[in-house]
Every structure is written in C-alpha cells, then in structure tokens.
C-alpha cells in the first residue's frame, strides 16, 4: 500500500472540515476530547491544522460525527461553508437557526456532491448566466417586469406558460436545484451563490407544485438581481418587506404570468362568455401552473378583474382544492425528485464507467445500495429503449423506485 494519505493531505483544510463536521453535530471540542480520551488542546491543534491527525483518531472522529472517513480524505472541492454565508446577511433568531441549519447543510452537501460528480466525469455544468441586473433606483415592480421580460426573451420562452420551469433553470441557465423536505413549512426555499458551484437553490419538496414553482421563480429573481446575497424565502416573515423580497415576488409574478400572454388569454376567455367566474380563475391558474391566489392577484394588478376579488373569495370560504377537483383539474405536472436529473445521470455515468464504487454511487444518490442498483438498471433499460432514435431523454430515475 502507498504511503499514509494523512501525511499528504492539507492539514489545514482537513482541520477545517473536521471542525465543521463537529459543529454540525453540535459537539464541543471538550466533548470530542473526552470521546477520544485526549486533551482538548489536541482537538484544537488538529482543527487548526497544527497537528497531523492519526488514522485511529480520524476513524473515531468520523464515527462520532456520523460521517464516513471517505468524506474527509477524498478529494472534494473546497467551498465556503453555506452556513457562514447565511450568517452575515440573513439575520435569524436562534430558534430559526436550529430549524433550518440542517437544510442549509443538506443543500451544501448536495451541491458539493453535484460539483464533485462533474469533476469525476469531466462534465462541467454549462453556465448560461446573464450579468447581474442592476435595479438600483428603479421602481421595484417595473424593474421586475423588465427583468422578467428580458429573461423570457433570452431563454426563448415567448409569453406563454412555462410548464418545465425547473428543467429550464437547471439546463438552460445552469442553476443547481434540489428539492428538500423542509420543516416547518413556512420555509419555501433558500438561495445562495458560491463562485465554484454557481447559483444553488433548495426548494421545499413538501409544498404543492404551484408553490414550488413560485419559490423557484422567486429565487431565480434573487439570482438575477441580488446574486451574491443568500436568502431564505419565508412566508410572512417580515413586518416591512425588504425591497429585494418585493422584487423577487414581483419577478415571480411577471416571469410566470407575463402581461402580454396573460392579458391575451384572459381576453380570449372573456370574448366567449358574459362574465368571468371562479372556475375560469381556477382553469387559468392551472394553465399557468400557479396558485389561484397568485393568478387572481395578478389579474387584479392588471385591472382585468376588480380589486378585492381574492379577498372576497377568501371571506366567502372559497376552497381551492375542492373547486379544482370539481373542475377535474389534475395535478400540475412536476419534476419533483430531490436530485436534478442531470445529477442522477452523472452518478450513473460515473458508476457504469467504474469511476466510483457501488457504495459511493448509493451515497451520491442518497439511497441504499439496492435502490441504487434499481436506478442504474432503470437507466440502462430506458437507454436501450431509446437507442436507435438518437434522442436525448431526461428521465427521473429516483421516481422509478419511489424515492
């Protein structure tokens, strides 16, 4: 066997990773020193990169932190920890910190693994990022509409609905988008930017699809206008909504429901009927993949319906889901797997080319080995079915095993 890897690793970097892993686990240096039966100063020295860690110490630390030794010794892209990025600009209470730090860590791990898979397979993510839009001094709503229109034009989206929003933001823009089961549900999404990873978004998987789409568009707005400012999108979080949040909300509305297209479709409906009814609002909302509330408020904003319709609907006890069911409006089509399809494909590619082991493959996919095998098998089958027609097909593999 070759020489000891611990003699070759950058001990400052390793120390930093160990310190992060310890704090993520909620342990103090004293706790860890006691576990390892060493002086606290030894842990301090290891974490500061002043003392080389021994193999048995690393094995025991990995166990204590619920991690694999592999996590600390394999070559991983060094990034600025997401928690650190969130600490400054996003002021949260201690309780909120506790609630969401686990999801910030999840987003960091997944984004980092995604980047690592790209390095392993030599398949860098194509970034088609526009320059950050400057909206300083502009009226927020007007700026948001202008940016939304420019982005629609840049991405060739016309003025219709965007049924495959996640796919467009992942593939045509190059954002890293993960769906995370975030609790409590007041957290809709989080966005941050790392110069290596690019824009990363975590959307709350537990929300209905129309709300996830809104969160995605909202955070895309942050990416466009406030690229380097991490944000946590929380419903009703502010007494006075900051301008950046106002912008992101307006952007989501204009991007998902552009004025020209929505006005045209609304007028088409009005031409055929004497008056617009609630069923029309439900149908139109479904068509655009947004909530009935978002659609109604947007129509009010456009003065296509009277102001206060949504308030009156609410006061009257209007039940959106019941109305949609009566109208036979099914679920909005969604691509709601935790991992991007491209991420899954890269993992399978790496595994099939023996660049990673089965254990690593299952770790990347966040499933057990058997499920990982099923995913690889599904891809093989789908690939063989697709062979001969020379088409690229994106298939959600985790759905094949109900992950």
């Amino acid at each position: 066997m070759e020489e000891n890897i611990l003699d070759k690793l950058d001990i400052r970097e390793l120390g930093r990773e160990l310190q992060l892993a310890r704090t993520k686990r909620g342990l103090t240096q004293a706790d860890v020193a006691q576990m390892l039966d060493v002086a606290r100063t030894t842990i301090t020295a290891i974490e500061k990169g002043e003392r080389r860690i021994k193999p048995d110490e690393l094995i025991r630390l990995a166990q204590a932190y619920g991690r694999q030794v592999n996590d600390f010794v394999r070559q991983r892209p060094a990034i600025e920890p997401f928690q650190v990025q969130f600490r400054g600009p996003f002021l949260r209470s201690e309780d909120e910190d506790k609630e969401i730090s686990i999801y910030i860590d999840q987003l960091e791990d997944l984004s980092r693994d995604y980047f690592e898979l790209e390095q392993i397979t030599n398949s860098p993510l194509g970034r088609k990022y526009p320059n950050e839009y400057s909206i300083d001094g502009l009226r927020v709503d007007l700026a948001a509409e202008d940016v939304a229109n420019q982005e629609r034009k840049r991405l060739g989206l016309g003025d219709g609905p965007i049924p495959i929003l996640r796919e467009i933001l992942e593939q045509d823009v190059g954002l890293r988008i993960f769906y995370l089961a975030i609790k409590p549900s007041k957290y809709s999404a989080m966005y941050l930017y790392d110069h290596k990873l690019g824009g990363c978004i975590g959307v709350n998987l537990q929300h209905p699809e129309e709300r996830r789409r809104w969160s995605l568009a909202h955070d895309f707005g942050h990416f466009l206008a406030h690229r380097y400012k991490p944000t946590m999108f929380v419903i009703n979080n502010y007494r006075r909504v900051p301008q950046s949040e106002q912008f992101a909300d307006y952007f989501a509305a204009y991007f998902l429901m552009p004025t020209s297209g929505l006005t045209m479709r609304f007028n088409d409906i009005r031409k055929t009927k004497e008056k617009i009814v609630v069923a029309d609002l439900c149908t139109l909302a479904h068509y655009y993949g947004v909530s009935v509330e978002a659609l109604t408020l947007r129509l009010e904003d456009l003065k296509l319906i009277p102001t206060g319709v949504w308030d009156r609907l609410q006061e009257g006890g209007f039940k959106v889901r019941e109305a949609q069911a009566q109208l036979g409006l099914g679920d909005i089509p969604s691509q709601s797997s935790q991992l991007p399809i491209r991420y899954q494909n890269l993992a399978v590619l790496a595994f099939e080319n023996s660049l990673i082991t089965e254990g690593q493959f299952s770790h990347y996919l966040r499933v057990d080995r058997l499920s990982a095998r099923s995913i690889a098998e599904s891809l093989r089958r789908q690939r063989s079915q697709a062979s001969g027609i020379n088409s690229e097909i994106d298939l959600d593999l985790t759905e094949a095993i109900n992950v």
Partner: protein
C-alpha cells in the same frame, strides 16, 4: 477464479455487493457451506452496507424490501465478523477510503493486512485492488455460485432460480465482459 486447488488464501472476505447477491439467491447457506475456505464479512459492512433485498411477489418484487439477516450464518460459524484491528489496518482503511466507500475500504484494509481474498462484484473496487494489491485474489459472486454448482451439482432449475433471484431480488446483472457471463446467461 478456481477456489479449490491452489487458491492462495485461507479466508475470503465478502464485500457488500457480494453479500447482497448471495443473500438474494436464496441459497446463501448452502453456498457458504461448500466454499473450502473461511468466509468473513466486516462488521461495518454487515451493519451499514449490506442491508436489504427485494422480496415482493415476482410480478412486483420491489413492493417489499426484506432486511438481510446474517446473524444465523454468524451463529452457525459459516461467516465470521471481522473488525479493523491495529494501526496497520487503521492506516490501510484511511488510505483506501480516499478512493472507496468506507465499507469497501474496511473490507480491503482487513484483506490486505491479513492476506485474505476479497469477494466483490464492484468494478471500481476490483480495479483499485488489482492495481494496488495484485497479490490479493479477487473472486466474484458468480465464482462462489459456480463452485457450489460444480460441487453440489444442483439441478438446472435450482441454479436458474438462484440466478434469477439475484437478478430480480438483488437487482444485479453481471457486466457483459464478466468471465462467467456466458455461464450466467446459459441458465437465464
């Protein structure tokens, strides 16, 4: 790989892929019984890696996931649990973990230090061991099963069922260049 005459190791340590495949075959006990070497598994692999197989009805096999229970094999001395022991193995574990998952690294570290063979179906692991430890013999699940077939001479139907179980319940299919690929395909 012939695990009879001239096989250069006293013990074979099974990695997670191999354990899942053997367990899925439904014939693990009888296969382990005929292997003329000690058989071992790293405790880490038993506890964290070789966890389950599918056991639903044949037309919807993924409907039920069954936990792999190796304790009966351990209790009957068909399988020995191995633990990382001593500085040399700890160091090898950490070194191997640079390129392998922890279960695979633990398995490799034990095999390297104790001169045991490794039973694995993982191409990336095999590549690494062939390069870094060419003196360690690597055997596959199919090597072990073929040895059982050659020794016990079960009927073709029994072999067919065992291999089909591996494919269906373990979701494993040998690579097209596997040395025993034709043998596998002959039964399925």
């Amino acid at each position: 790989m012939n695990i009879d005459k001239g096989f250069p190791h006293d013990c074979i340590i099974l990695d997670a892929c191999c354990v899942i495949n053997l367990y899925a075959s439904g014939k693990m006990r009888t296969i382990l019984q005929v292997i003329p070497r000690n058989l071992s598994i790293a405790a880490y692999v038993k506890d964290h890696e070789a966890l389950n197989i599918y056991s639903g009805p044949i037309d919807n096999v993924q409907a039920i996931s069954e936990s792999i229970d190796l304790q009966p094999f351990v209790d009957d001395n068909l399988l020995f649990l191995a633990y990382i022991d001593g500085e040399v193995e700890e160091s090898a574990y950490v070194n191997l973990a640079q390129s392998l998952d922890d279960g695979e690294a633990v398995t490799g570290a034990i095999a390297l230090n104790r001169n045991w063979a490794i039973a694995t179906d993982d191409s990336a692991s095999m590549k690494l061991f062939q390069r870094t430890a060419p003196h360690i013999a690597l055997v596959s699940t199919l090597d072990l099963i073929k040895h059982w077939v050659d020794t016990n001479k079960p009927s073709d139907d029994i072999v067919h069922d065992a291999l089909l179980n591996i494919r269906v319940r373990g979701r494993y299919e040998p690579h097209r260049n596997h040395p025993l690929g034709n043998w596998w395909r002959k039964f399925l």
